[in-house]
């Protein structure tokens, strides 16, 4: 086995890097692959919370790098999926505790044991960002259909190109079909036109993501969730399969909005 290292990055904070990392890891593990996620956001860890593994952390990435434990010892196995592991970030240190070559070393050691290594990048373009893209084979840039997020994504794509790690692939998160239809939000087409890189996924805006994140249960675990399906499709595309993009049309959206209205009225 030779693992593929996938790094999820964005530039701007709060666009959904960690959520995407967690859900892609879950989706790939559900497809039967052995997956390790690494939280690259040292000092501000939260991938453990999103995956619901917070209370099981003993060792972290910095412990591995500083030889206080073996990689195996820091890998927390998910209870829901057999082959999903997390290497958490340290909470009490900062980004300078790890260097790009440390990350390459850790990933190289894991490469023969797993199928996919998914790395969650911190916001920004400094040390933490460089740490996480150094070992990457595939780089996924997450953005929202907002001008500020797209601007930062553009910068990140440029930096990835400059590091000769490109071309990056694009995930557009939190697309609201109602707003785009009315022309109040950039459409996925607008975003792709500006950024001019391959689109690998479009994720609808979904309040269930917030709920599932708070519960530590990624939406990809829910077989009925459309958003979960969108993440599963990205996982399939990473494996090299061709999957048509979900129709985020108004119909389903209208129904769910109506359902929402009835719910409010009933309360």
């Amino acid at each position: 086995m030779a693992a593929t290292v996938v790094t999820i990055t964005s530039g701007k904070g709060g666009v959904g890097k960690t959520t995407t990392t967690a859900n892609l890891a879950v989706a790939l593990a559900e497809d039967g692959f052995k997956v390790v996620c690494i939280d690259g956001d040292i000092g501000l860890r939260n991938l453990d919370v999103v995956l619901g593994l917070e209370n099981r952390i003993v060792y972290d990435l910095v412990d591995i790098v500083e030889n206080r434990c073996r990689i195996r010892q820091a890998m927390i196995r998910d209870k829901r999926l057999e082959e999903l592991y997390l290497i958490p970030a340290a909470q009490t240190r900062d980004k300078s505790a790890v260097s790009p070559s440390d990350m390459i070393r850790v990933c190289d050691e894991l490469r023969n044991e797993v199928d996919y290594i998914i790395i969650d990048s911190p916001a920004g373009i400094e040390r933490g960002f460089r740490n996480t893209i150094a070992p990457a084979d595939v780089i996924l840039v997450v953005t929202n259909p907002e001008v500020s997020a797209v601007r930062d994504a553009d910068r990140i794509i440029g930096l990835v190109e400059a590091e000769e790690k490109g071309p990056a692939k694009l995930i557009i998160n939190r697309v609201n079909p109602g707003l785009t239809k009315r022309g109040d939000m950039l459409t996925p087409e607008d975003v792709v036109e500006l950024l001019a890189i391959e689109l690998i996924g479009v994720i609808p805006d979904d309040e269930n993501v917030v709920i599932s994140t708070n519960r530590g249960q990624p939406v990809a675990l829910d077989p009925k969730s459309k958003t979960g399906q969108a993440f599963k499709n990205i996982a399939k595309r990473i494996q090299g399969q061709t999957v048509p993009f979900l129709q985020l049309d108004d119909k389903g959206d209208f129904l769910s909005r109506m359902a929402g209205l009835f719910k409010q009225g009933g309360d």
């Binding site: 070559s101 001008v147 553009d154 910068r155 440029g158 930096l159 400059a162 590091e163 001019a196």
Partner: protein, 233 residues
């Protein structure tokens, strides 16, 4: 500081300036790394600027050195060079390519060089063969030609003309040294900001399809008009 054959170090206001003019790149790099390792406590946490003179460096060579220095807790923040390739690659990686204050005699000479070049500005042009993404800046005393788009957040500064064979959505400053005869043209002109000399163009509101346009200054007025070859522009 101790001088060795290939690598010299001196302290400057911004940190350390390392000059490495001679020898193969691998030799210079090896010597620099050995020097840093030997004086670990001196270099720990240092910010260094590297002057490679005319050596053209590829991206991989720069990133390798930067990461190896980082492992030793040394930050490479700037690269000085007279080679355009090196400067472009360093800029693309977000490194500085000049020192903020130019005081010593060597820098003075450079300034004189650049003045000489302004007079010849009509002859030369820099061709950038890709799309400029946000955060990328092209600065030149020559004309600038972009074969691609200029995205919002990208910037072009030229002492001469600017030609964009694509969409200009970022900022463009032509005639930056005061030449009001400079022009800016693009296949699609939707800039964040447009300047010629010291004149800032008023913001444009454009909707729908756009055509190739040219921006220029006439009688101290900012003008933008459709490309028209009969005018000879």
């Amino acid at each position: 500081m101790e001088n060795s054959s290939l690598v010299q170090i001196k302290g400057i206001r911004e940190g350390l300036l390392i000059s490495a003019e001679n020898g193969t790149w691998d030799d210079r790099k090896a010597e620099l790394l050995i020097m840093v390792k030997e004086k670990e406590s001196f270099f720990k946490g240092a910010r260094v600027c590297l002057d490679v003179y005319e050596t053209p460096l590829r991206v991989k060579q720069i990133t390798q050195l930067r990461d190896q220095l980082l492992d030793l807790d040394v930050t490479l923040w700037a690269i000085l060079s007279t080679a355009e390739t090196t400067l472009n690659n360093a800029r693309a990686l977000g490194l500085e390519t000049s020192l903020p204050v130019k005081k010593d005699s060597k820098e003075g000479k450079e300034n004189k060089d650049s003045n000489d070049r302004v007079e010849n500005a009509a002859e030369k042009a820099v061709l950038v063969n890709k799309t400029l993404r946000a955060g990328y800046k092209v600065e030149s005393l020559d004309h600038v030609i972009i074969f691609g788009d200029v995205n919002p957040g990208a910037e072009i500064v030229s002492a001469g003309n600017i030609i964009v064979w694509g969409k200009l959505k970022g900022s463009a400053i032509a005639g930056a040294e005061g030449n009001k005869k400079a022009v800016i043209c693009a296949m699609e002109l939707r800039p964040t900001q447009l300047r010629i000399g010291d004149r800032v163009f008023p913001p444009q509101q454009k909707k729908g399809k756009t055509f190739p346009e040219v921006a220029y200054i006439e009688n101290d007025d900012c003008k933008i008009e459709l490309w028209n070859k009969e005018k000879g522009r």
